[in-house]
Amino acid sequence: MTALVVVLGLVVAVLALLVVGLLRSHAEILKRLHDLGAGVEPGQPTSQPASPTATPVTSREDFQVMPQVPSPPDREAFGGAADLVGVGAGGADALSVRIIGVEHDTIVAFLSSGCITCQKFWDAFAKPRKLKLPSGTRIVVVTKGPEAESASSVASLAPASFPTVMSTQAFTDYDVPGSPYFVYVHGPSGRVRGEGTGPDWEQVSSLLAQATVDAGLATALSGRQVAKPDADAAREERIDRELFEAGVAPGDPSLFSVTPPDGADATDADRHDHDGHHPHG
């Protein structure tokens, strides 16, 4: 009985989350339409273009990892993943490690031989059984190349159970801000599931596990989506049609950018007086 109650509670929570998400999405679309003048009955005033000071969709706080650890710098989106090629620890051997288009996931750990925080990770990687890696996940350690790192130091630190690649190019490819830094890559798609850093492996692994849960939740949600009420579906269809008739096709940059096109002056048709409406910003 208790189990049944718990399951029902979980279902309710999931549904609530879904509803909130849909409502938010709907609100955003309505706002955009209003700014573009779509959906306005003839004769009704249309909205002004959104002000250049409109709040971005995402904020830095969304990506705050740990209070005491500096956030990654602003990015437009997560960086991409790439296969790794470089020299082995010690600087003499050559190796390449596939990250993309493989069956397994990979945690790419960007470390250095000199940083104090990195030492905890070097030590942790020396005991692979205690890492509690997600099933089907491989760790690859990456340091900068021999021109920027002490190859002998890396050789003495390199874990026996995971490949270690010395490659400065990898730091560039992954847009790594500094070490230690971790990127969790979904092998089959090459998509970055999560990235960040932490003071020790316990913290990092819990963050990565959370990323896994989130991804798993999204997957679970997509598989268990509740059929939309007819009224919602009809409304979305109408919005799509009106956007298209206004020249805004799916993927149109105007749907994502809040600044007016460069060099373009606002035309009378574009200026809308809200009179009594809040300026959108």
């Binding site: 296969d83 090629v85 020299v87 082995g88 003499a92 051997d93 050559a94 190796l95 390449s96 490690v97 596939r98 288009g101 493989v102 397994h104 491989r138 874990p159 026996a160 159970s161 995971f162 490949p163």
Partner: protein, 159 residues
């Protein structure tokens, strides 16, 4: 993706990863890893699957993980005293492997469904063994073109 080390270079096709490595030379202070008189020589491991870090020179540890579409190519070098001897009399690295060259018995460790091919040769006065393992012998015609592409992209520089 190009790898180059220890006088060997290889241009890996998409979907492959590799290692060109030299094990640590034992010394009098490190008898746990061998006698100081031993001579380590370059070893190349190329695979279309994720290579585990702990591997034997002829692929043990990696072959355990192979399934039907997987191929492991091992290039194992011997000392100069072996070059051009009877066992290593073949000149030049093979570039084209065919299914008939493979056998379920020609394996360092015979695992069900797998097949191996071992060829000793000399190139550039360097003695080698080319040891190729198929995760599934039945997939030979499908996967050997990949292995041959890997071999085609591999060059041994003379001593």
């Amino acid at each position: 993706m190009k790898l180059q080390a220890h006088g060997i270079e290889t241009e890996l096709p998409a979907g492959w990863e590799g290692r060109i490595a030299l094990r640590t030379q034992p010394t009098a202070a490190t008898r746990s890893i061998g006698d100081p008189a031993e001579r380590t020589n370059p070893i190349v491991h190329l695979a279309n699957f994720a290579l585990p870090e702990q591997r034997g020179d002829f692929g043990s540890g990696a072959v355990d993980l192979m399934s039907e579409p997987h191929v492991l190519v091992v290039l194992f070098e011997y000392g100069p005293e072996c070059a051009n001897t009877a066992l290593f009399s073949r000149q030049g690295m093979p570039k084209k492997l065919t299914p008939t060259m493979f056998s379920g018995a020609a394996l360092q460790r015979t695992l069900p469904g797998q097949a191996g091919c071992q060829i000793f040769f000399t190139e550039g006065n360097r003695a080698f063994c080319l040891y190729t393992v198929l995760g599934g012998q039945s997939a030979a015609t499908r996967v050997l073109p990949q292995a041959n592409a890997t071999l085609a992209g591999t060059r041994i520089l003379a001593r």
